[in-house]
């Protein structure tokens, strides 16, 4: 059996299928279901084998009937011969049905379980990725891993792989039976099958190539549509409808061209394989006829066995064998056809798997921090002891290499010393930046877009790591602090407010998960959000969806402020919103912000005069360098850039 032509080796597949990817998917499948999957596979193989066997018995029955007919025997003579065979047939069928039920039920369970595992793995892995990943990848692309790519895997696991396994099994079983019956005839079938594989490989490959192109064109159309749908009002205002329609028609036309090519190839595969099968059928019939007529010796494995053991000569081809060959040919081609229908989905699934693995293989955020944040008791002498209770005091627990542990009170003293940083290796965004913030101080960053204001705040909570210099928090190098502890000691309110689906209460509690309802309400009152929340139809239990779409911009900001307030961190990072909210709401938001700032160390990216003026220190940034620093009065006196900004053009972005 040197010519083991299993469909898995289709040349069309080989050209495109990345087998490493396939291996990895299969390995993961086994790892997820180390017991169930082998059972399901056994069922698949057994049911496939069992479904190939009846051919032997139907052939025998037909043989018996044929012989009996020619001999003129009655049913009473034939029945004892036929009925046992039928009973064997029935028991085989019962087995097959049991296997197939088990297999399909198991696979339904395994497929969904596996997809869920993949989804969770993807999601869990994603949570551990650094912010950089999200800053450098389109959100739509990340999302398509969860939707399109996972969907292609579903097809692979639930259909393509089982079909691959079953087709292989049936083909091998049938092949064995064929060889058992007649080697010559088998060779005839195999030649035909080779032709089939070559042809379907060619077409399947062409189809797969077009499908990949199709994916690209679909993406292009999607991008265009997305842009135009969100800009629909602009299109109207400029009466640009006709031009947009023409542009769309062009992209649509290209999509049509690839779509119909890809589908034409895919559709043709079926008829081609089936009809090669039909022709093969004729050839097998003809060759069978020739063998029977010419009474050539029929070389077969069964005959070989007899020959070797008893020295019996090879018999001639019987009619029953010839007929069973015809049926087996059908089975052979049917299975190859079944499998060839899966080529496209396998190619697409493996491309999808490639993208999923690429996300999973992303380097997660590294956290070597060992300094942790603990609840602390501080006695009159200033001695700090660790406790499990919430005392309102916190301390940094710092284990040293010599086994000793020191505790440092969490105060909120943050110092950046000569920090250099760039998002890309050779392009520095911050040069030699030093900022000292003592506990309770308010530091404002002022400067144009791209000056590096947001970058500084990204460094303090270690969304990004600095290239050079030092950042110390209460005297501890922040690289030594466990990231989660560092971040929970820092509150952030961002320019773009992000709320999550859930009640208003849930959203506020996001700041501190063990906060009571009362705590949350208290925080809302502090930030001035309580007023509007209580006026919502269901108050704190109002459900927010779609990033709080039912709230105004100002209201969303107030919730975000309350969320930070409930966390009650000693240090706050605030990015004031630039988008225009009306003067009154702005005043409320401003009051909320001010309340939040009281008694904390605050880094604020300021867009409003009042915030800037009330700050202890103002840092004026330009192209990543702090060009001026000092209090408002001092900077006004110096009559430098800040003075210019303040008096003439105040472009605070």
């Amino acid at each position: 059996m040197s010519k083991n032509n299993t469909p898995a080796k289709m040349p069309g597949g080989r050209r495109k299928i990345d087998f490493k990817m396939l291996g990895r998917v299969i390995k993961l499948l086994f790892a997820s279901y180390p017991r169930l999957l082998p059972i399901a596979m056994c069922c698949m193989v057994l049911s496939a084998m069992v479904s190939a066997c009846p051919a032997i018995f139907t052939q025998r029955i037909i043989n018996i009937v044929d012989v009996a007919l020619k001999a003129g025997h009655g049913w009473d003579v034939v029945a004892p011969q036929v009925v046992p065979l039928v009973l064997i047939l029935v028991s085989l069928y019962v087995l097959s049905i049991i296997f197939i039920t088990l297999q399909t039920q198991l696979m339904a369970y395994i497929t969904q379980g596996f997809l869920t595992k993949m989804r969770r793995k993807l999601f869990d892995g994603m949570q551990n990725l650094p912010i950089k990943y999200f800053d450098t990848h389109q959100h739509g692309d990340i999302m398509s891993h969860y939707t399109n790519d996972i969907d292609t895997l579903r097809q692979l696991v639930s259909q393509s792989l089982p079909s691959l396994l079953q087709s292989c099994t049936i083909v091998l079983t049938v092949l064995f039976i064929m060889l058992w019956s007649s080697v010559w005839m088998t060779l005839v079938v195999l030649v035909g099958v080779c032709v089939m594989i070559v042809v379907s490989g060619k077409i399947g490959g062409g189809s797969a190539k077009n499908f990949i192109k199709l994916q690209r064109n679909v993406g292009r159309l999607e991008g265009y549509v997305q842009e135009m749908m969100s800009g629909q009002k602009v299109v109207k205002v400029f009466s640009h409808e006709k031009k947009v329609r023409e542009e769309f028609a062009q992209i649509n036309e290209e999509l049509f061209q690839t779509s119909y090519r890809a589908n034409a190839f895919a559709n043709m595969l079926g008829p081609i394989i089936m009809n090669i099968g039909n022709i093969l059928y004729v050839i097998v019939a003809t060759v069978g006829g020739v063998f029977i007529l010419s009474e050539l010796p029929n070389v077969s494995l069964s005959g070989l066995g007899a020959y070797l053991s008893q020295g019996a000569a090879f018999g001639t081809l019987t009619i029953g064998v010839a007929v069973s060959f015809l049926n087996m040919t059908k089975q052979f081609t049917g299975n190859i056809n079944t499998f060839s229908q899966q080529i496209n989905s396998i190619v697409m699934a493996l491309a999808g798997a490639g993208r999923i693995f690429a996300l999973m293989d992303q380097q997660p955020e590294i956290d070597d921090g060992y300094v942790t944040l603990v609840n602390a008791n501080i006695d009159a002498q200033g001695n700090i002891t660790e406790t499990n209770e919430h005392t309102g005091h916190w301390a940094w627990k710092h284990p040293h290499s010599d086994g000793t542990i020191t505790y440092t009170e969490l105060k909120g003293d943050v110092r950046l010393t000569e920090v250099d940083f760039g998002y890309e290796e050779d392009k520095l965004v911050l040069h030699n930046v030093s900022v000292y913030a003592e506990p309770g101080q308010k530091v404002a960053f002022v400067g144009a877009t791209g000056a590096g204001k947001t970058t500084i705040t990204n460094l303090i909570n270690r969304f990004y790591d600095i290239d050079d210099g030092k950042i110390r928090y209460d005297g501890i190098n922040i690289n030594k602090i466990k990231k989660s502890d560092l971040r929970s000691s820092l509150g952030i309110v961002l320019q773009d407010t992000n709320l999550f689906t859930g009640t208003v209460m849930d959203n506020i509690r996001y700041g501190r998960l063990d906060a009571s309802d009362e705590d949350c309400k208290q925080a809302a009152k502090l930030s001035g959000a309580d007023d509007f929340i209580t006026r919502l139809p269901e108050g704190y239990n109002t459900l927010l969806t779609n990033n709080g779409a039912n709230l105004s911009q100002g209201q969303r900001q107030l919730i975000a402020i309350a969320r930070a307030a409930v966390a009650d961190p000693p240090v706050m990072i605030l990015d004031e919103a630039t988008s225009s909210i009306d003067t009154r709401t702005e005043a409320i938001v401003q009051r909320g912000m001010d309340a939040l700032m009281k008694g904390r160390t605050v880094f604020v990216i300021a867009h409003r005069l009042s915030t800037v003026r009330n700050s202890d220190v103002i840092m004026v940034l330009e192209k990543g360098v702090i060009i001026e620093r000092g209090s408002h009065d001092k900077l006004i006196e110096e009559k430098g850039k800040y003075y210019q900004l303040y008096t003439g053009a105040f472009e605070l972005e």
């Binding site: 029955i61 009655g74 339904a108 649509n252 019939a285 006829g289 007529l293 990231k483 009051r591």
Partner: protein, 582 residues
Amino acid sequence: MFKKFLKSVREFKLPSILTLIFIIAEVVIEVFIPFTTAKLINYIQTTAMLEMAVIAKYGITLVIMALLSLTCGGVAAYTCAKASSGFSRNLRQDVFDRIQTFAFENIDKFSSTSLVTRLTTDIHNVQMSYMMIIRTAVRAPLMLVFAIIMAAVMGGWLAMSFAVLVPLLGFGLFLISRKAMPAFRAVFRKYDRLNESIEENVRGMRVVKGFSREDYEKKKFGIAAEDICSDFTKAERIVALNSPLMQVCVYANMVFVMLVGSMLVINSGGAVVNVGHMSAMLTYGMQILIQLMMLSMIYVMLTMSSESMKRIIEVLDERSALTSPENAVTTVKDGSIDFENVNFKYSAKAERFALSDVDLHIDSGMTVGILGGTGSSKSTLVQLIPRLYDVTEGCVKVGGVDVREYDLDTLRGQVAMVLQKNLLFSGTIKDNLRWGNENATDEEMIEACKLAQAHEFVTSFPDGYDTHIEQGGTNVSGGQKQRLCIARALLKKPKILILDDSTSAVDTRTDAFIRAGFKSYIPETTKIIIAQRVSSVQDADLILVMENGTIAAMGKHDDLLASCDIYKEIYTQQTKGGEDDE
């Protein structure tokens, strides 16, 4: 519902019909092939002295049949792909074109993401269904009928098995689909929500990480994912019953044919049923049951895509709220604007008017400033001028003519508006500017940019006016984007220019330059400026202060400062900064 879709078939009617014809031909041949092979087998089995010539005759017939079937199948595959892809192309264009006719009112109804889904996923689903219909939905019942007929002809008494098995299987499959469909629909809705929550997580990653809520998010997601998993498994397991059910039927048929068949053959001495018939019965039996399986698949697929169809129809059925009148006025005399007793609400069902009792006259060439809090309907007021919405009562006149009498393109060509939510499209800066005037020369573009104070920063880019703008204009700052949008509007050389809070991210000095430019370079153009900053409107010829959908006060800066409390409050708050915070 289907009728509406058929309209989009258009030039692909021919390939669609050809597909049907060739598939019918293919089916006929495909049915006759086993008929012929049965004869061949019968010949081999029943004839004592085989003649090669007879076998060759059958063989050649079969080969010709196979070739014919191949041709038919191949042609059908091609025409079917062409027809279904073409149909989806037309449908997509129809939906897109329909959206282009939408007025603002219609646009407000559909979210942009839902329109994107309709144009992509939904249409893809419909395309697949169409392909399924013209290929399999004809083929399967046809095959079924032929196979049943052939089986009846060939098998005689043996075909009786189908009379029991077919209804049994059909009923079983129907039951399974009926049970599975609602389960699937429910789980798909849940699945959509799960994906929405992932999107939320990705979007809010800074918040997640900022509060170090990674583990919390993982747990939350885990619960939701497992919940969906169990629902999905339940639905899938119902569908998974399809294949054992079908096996049971196939096997039952096999056993019947083997047992009863051989009995009939022997008892009738091969006269009623012979061996060839037995094997033919096996083939047809298989075919009949496979076709039933196909039908159930089609049923599932069609019900699944019916949701998509509904969503597409929703768009196609949406009638534009605004159209150009017949015998429309095609010239705009000047930039004067009149609001006469205007009342407006966004939908007929709304209880309150968004604008009420607006009476206003603006001379051509005037500069008008509009101030007011969010929700005071500033934008609503100006959107009536280029007829983005129609008034509910009263009328709006431009150049002395009711806006409803103008040709829409004419009106909007003369009324340039920079929207609050302004947007640049991917393409070069020049491409974007040409939205204002397709035939604008380089000089005209530079002039407009100079006026909008954009020329300086544009030329500071390495590629100047050929700089590529990313989708949504993410690679220019907010202030730069706003200035480019103003330049784009200026290129229209409009009689009326409306800036809806379009300089909020531009610094006050540049803002002042822009306004000064307007004054000296486009004095005849009526300028309407909505702003948050008093400084942006302070020296306008007329300032409107809006509150709760009405004009609370109007006049010049000094008058308003003296007479209008709201104006005074806004003014003091902005100029004095945070001094009163303490």
